[in-house]
Symmetry: C2
């Protein structure tokens, strides 16, 4: 996350995206750094059968889609606004220039990439080897600890639809529903008015 005054100093623009508007597509070349001022963004893929996989969901303050700015690769997934959003946009050359001049900001970006990698490692091993209930609990635990910055014993309301949980964990929505009911029975989560608390 680059401080907004610095983004402004380097002439970042602020772009409006409507809910469901595509910010970039899978396999596009990257030309800009993106950081959310207001709103929510998901990065996702669709396979041949139309099944969605959500690589991540990003919130105000988060940057997304940085890797192709730093390595010779294309976007591995698309980015789509989940709600009407305001997003800082800074051209690649200006970003590189910024990072050269502001080493501290470069370390912030490095930290951000590291955390994304941590999440990916976690979910990779979960998706590859664990049962539905375990995958879901791991996702919720990650959200509690690393997104909401809460302790284990603190409870939070999960701001995800069943379908989104499915698309983040590689499951189907019916499986998520059934697994969540089981987790409720086992007192691992609470469900109040269909909302999940963990």
């Amino acid at each position: 996350m680059v401080p907004e005054n610095i983004l402004n100093a380097y002439q970042a623009s602020v772009e409006k995206y409507k809910k469901d508007e595509v910010i970039f597509e899978e396999n596009d070349n990257a030309h800009h750094y993106f950081q959310i001022h207001q709103g929510q963004v998901k990065m996702n893929n669709y396979n041949e059968n139309g099944k969605e996989f959500i690589q991540g969901i990003f919130y105000a303050g988060d940057s997304f889609g940085e890797p192709p700015l730093f390595a010779d690769i294309k976007y591995p997934a698309a980015a789509v606004a989940l709600e009407d959003s305001l997003i800082y946009k800074l051209s690649k050359p200006k970003l590189i220039n910024l990072l050269e001049e502001q080493p501290k900001v470069h370390f912030h970006i490095t930290e951000r990439l590291s955390k994304r990698l941590f999440y990916k490692s976690l979910m990779a091993s979960e998706i590859s080897s664990e049962e539905p209930e375990h995958r879901i609990v791991s996702l919720l635990h990650f959200l509690k600890k690393h997104v909401h910055h809460l302790k284990d014993h603190e409870e939070f309301e999960v701001d995800l639809k069943r379908q989104q949980i499915a698309d983040l964990t590689g499951l189907r929505v019916e499986t998520v529903i059934r697994a969540c009911k089981n987790l409720e029975k086992k007192n691992k989560i609470r469900i109040i008015k269909r909302k999940i608390f963990f």
Copy 2:
């Protein structure tokens, strides 16, 4: 990848690890930067039932296990030498100092993290939504393009055992064997003396 003369200038040590020796464990705190001088290293997890998942395999010149040096997280996986190896080891404070003084090296690290993230994004969507054959082809394609730096039409010998392919793609070894036989029938890979060519 940090140039070796720079590593030496910052007093990195070179450590010997025997085949199968553990370099660090899952959930350990990170204190050092690691870069392979000679040999091979894998990072992996085991689930409760003993099933292995390989997060990645690293070769001479590669660094590994950087993220917990930059973010407040533990190692998401263990690191194990796949053969007798010589590995540069640099303490975290010295690394940070190095990156502050050598911005170009910092950009190398950023590039490296970005490429890892790309691989992870790719495999995540594959593992979550694709059939065995598709997963295997995607892995091989990644290896051809991003590890061996070959064009699509160029062929290379895959230096992975069936079990390793299974552990990288979240499949079981029997499934990999059967999928590979199918891929051979479809002329998508060649198998000569049990070695896979792609």
